[in-house]
Structure formats: structure tokens, C-alpha cells
Symmetry: C2
Subunit: 223 residues, 2 copies
Amino acid sequence: MAQKETVERILDAASVLFAERGYAETSLRTITTAAGVNLASVNYHFGSKKALIQAVFARTLDPFCQQLSENLNKLKGSDQVEALFRCLFSTLMETVAAKPGLNQAEQVIELQRFMRLLGMAYTQSQGHLRRFIVSQYGDLYRRFLNLLRDTLPGINPVDFYWQLYFLLGATVFTLSSIDSIQGIIEDNFSEHSGVERALELLIPTLSRMMQIPAVDSSTPAAD
Amino acid sequence: MAQKETVERILDAASVLFAERGYAETSLRTITTAAGVNLASVNYHFGSKKALIQAVFARTLDPFCQQLSENLNKLKGSDQVEALFRCLFSTLMETVAAKPGLNQAEQVIELQRFMRLLGMAYTQSQGHLRRFIVSQYGDLYRRFLNLLRDTLPGINPVDFYWQLYFLLGATVFTLSSIDSIQGIIEDNFSEHSGVERALELLIPTLSRMMQIPAVDSSTPAAD
DNA sequence: GTCTATAACGCGATAGAC
DNA sequence: GTCTATCGCGTTATAGAC
């Protein structure tokens, strides 16, 4: 039974290595060696390196999106910005980080790994991966966006988009680097600061970001 | 005289291609072909691919950091968060974007290119580049950080670091994707939304982000 | 299904003529 | 300072024995 799990071994090794080095910088040789499987097995089981990259993503994103969809259903009626973010991040924690048998430090690493993979899907030139994500998960993304917009009834729709990207960048960047930020903080202040602290700070900060104070006079709103 | 500029031609082509595809994904063959110079000339003029990557960075960061240092001197005495961000971004615009002979659309591309290069220096596994940047420009970075912290006297130092990364992510991510965000906005709202709009939105948003409302009761402060 | 061996190719870097 | 030619290596992918 130590053999049947070849596919899982490859996925495990690949997600770790992709997150550490990026997609282009990680060779199939490195992955198969780390996984303790044969070099040829990636092409046998997945067909190509690109298909492996997509499979790594789907393994995490499928359960996350399914759970998020359910959690959003329960939320219906609520109109708090913070509640939406809280729903998003708690889904992230329960599906991505809180895998059985992981202690808290390992959960952080798991979360960070996924955020790095996600960030690099946009940062690196992996057009096939962006297309894959949009085609597979675009509906849920748009649904979340609409819910978020509905909680901010007075917002200028164009400003909303800009704010949205501010928000996205803050989240992905921070959660991607969470262990190095923790390290800097511990070095400088001899104080541990965990993910839960970061998220408890991030959620109100994102909510504060989205609150546009007053319409700036210079650009009249479109009608 | 069309020859002496080989070094410049290489730097121009390299910064465009690195920003588009990343460092690992861009070969010297691609760069030299785009630049219309010989394959061997990169190794002749720069010594190695790594040295070329660093040179691409230095060409933009040197003037930016020098100008920022001067602009911060003029600012001394002011204690507004917004003034600091405004100084940072106006320096960015005047040294990175506003090169002679560029129209506004070209300036956006120039700015975006630099932000992408900067983001990828951290995202991709380019340890030599991070070390280069820290060693060359670390002093100014720390100086800016201290000024920023001084404008927020009541802030919890640990929270300050987390907020700082939220801020960094929002900025780099947004300015890296500025043309695609503009494209989405124009498709959906038939309304042009330029960088100046994004920056006018970003500056108060970042300032708002940094303002911690009140200490949350649940986590007692370390003494 | 898994292995070894290798094909087919692209890479960074360099030697040496000009 | 610029060229051609090529070395040496690492890559993805595949063919074929087991």
C-alpha cells in the first residue's frame, strides 16, 4: 500500500517545492526525487508539468471553494463587511490550514504555502494556470464580490474595484510571508505573534480600507 | 553611434522581459534577440545573468533612492502619515515614471514594470537579488520606516509591523497590475481611471489602514 | 504501474577569429 | 567590442524492458 499513493506523494512534494521556489524554478527531477518516486511518473500520472501545477491547485481550491459556498449560504441576510471577511478567512483556516494532525505552527505553514501558490499564479507567467482558475472558480469569485459590494451601498463602483485590489494585495502578500514577518517581529521584540493575531488585525484593517470617507470632488461620479 | 549603446539596449530589453515573464523564465537568448545584440554580449558586459538582473534594478533604484532621500530631508518636521506616503509616491512618479518623452500611458507602463520587478524580487527565489537590495538600499528603507513610526506615536510596535506588510502588499500588488485593473474598469464601466486616480485613492487608504482604532481587549499587551 | 535509458531540446557561459 | 561556434549541463518528455 506504500505504492498506490504515488500520486499523493507527487502532489505533496510539488506543492511544497512550487511554493518555495516558484513553478519555473522547480524541475520534475527535484519533485520526483523529493517524493521518492520515479522521474517518469509525473508524466505518466498527470501528463505534463502544467497539468501537475493545475492538479496541485485543484486539490486545495476545490474543498475551499465548496466550503466557502456553503458558508456564504449560512451568512445570507447579514450585511457586515467584517462578517464577510471573517467568513472568508475562517473558511480558509478550516479547509486549508486545519488539516487533521497538524499543530498550529504546521497549520501556518500550510496556509502560507497556499497563499504563495496563489500569489505566484498571478506573479509568474503561468497563463494556463490563471485561465484554469478563472474557468473553474470564477463564478464563486463573482458571487463573493457581489456580496461584498452589497454591504457597501454608497460606494463608487470604480473606487470599489481599486479598493478590492488594495485588499487582495494586502492579504496575499501578508499571508504569503507570514513566517518571515513573524521572524522579524520575534527578533525585534522577543514577542510571539501568531496568525490569529495577524488575522484579527487584518480583518478590521480590510474593513477600514473599504470604507470610503467622502467623495472626492475632482472626479464626478458616472450616472 | 548606434553601437556604443549596447549596454543600454540590453538593460532596456531585459527590464521589459523580466517584468513580463519573471527572471527564471527569461533566457539570455530572448533578451539579446529582443535587444538586437549578440548572445555573448551579456556575459561580456555584465559578467553573468545575475549581475544583469542586479544592474536592471540599480538603474531604477539608484536615482529613486537618491531623490527620496533628498525629498525626505525637505519634509523634516512634518508629522503627517499622508505626507510621508505622498512623498514616497511622488518620488516614485518623478524618478521612475516621468522619464523625458513619455506620454502618460507610457509612464504607467514604466511604473508598473518597476513594481513588478520589485515584487518578483521577493516572490521568486532570487536570493542574490534580495541580498543586493538590502545591502544597497537598506539604510534608506529603515530611515523611512522610522519616520513613519514617528507619525503614529501611540501605535503598538508589533501591530505596526503587521500593518506595514498589509500596506506593502496593497501597494506593490496594485501598482504591478495597474493596467489590467484599468482594463477591467474600462470594460465594466466605460470609464477611464488613471494612475493618478489610483494613487489619490491609495494614499488615504494606506493612511486609514495605519490608524489602529483601539486596543482590542482580548489580547493583553506584552510588558 | 514502475523502472532505466535516452531522445530532443534550451540553457548559461566561453573560446577564439575578426 | 562583436561575432560564430560550441561546450557542458539540466530540462521535459518518451520508448521500451520488466
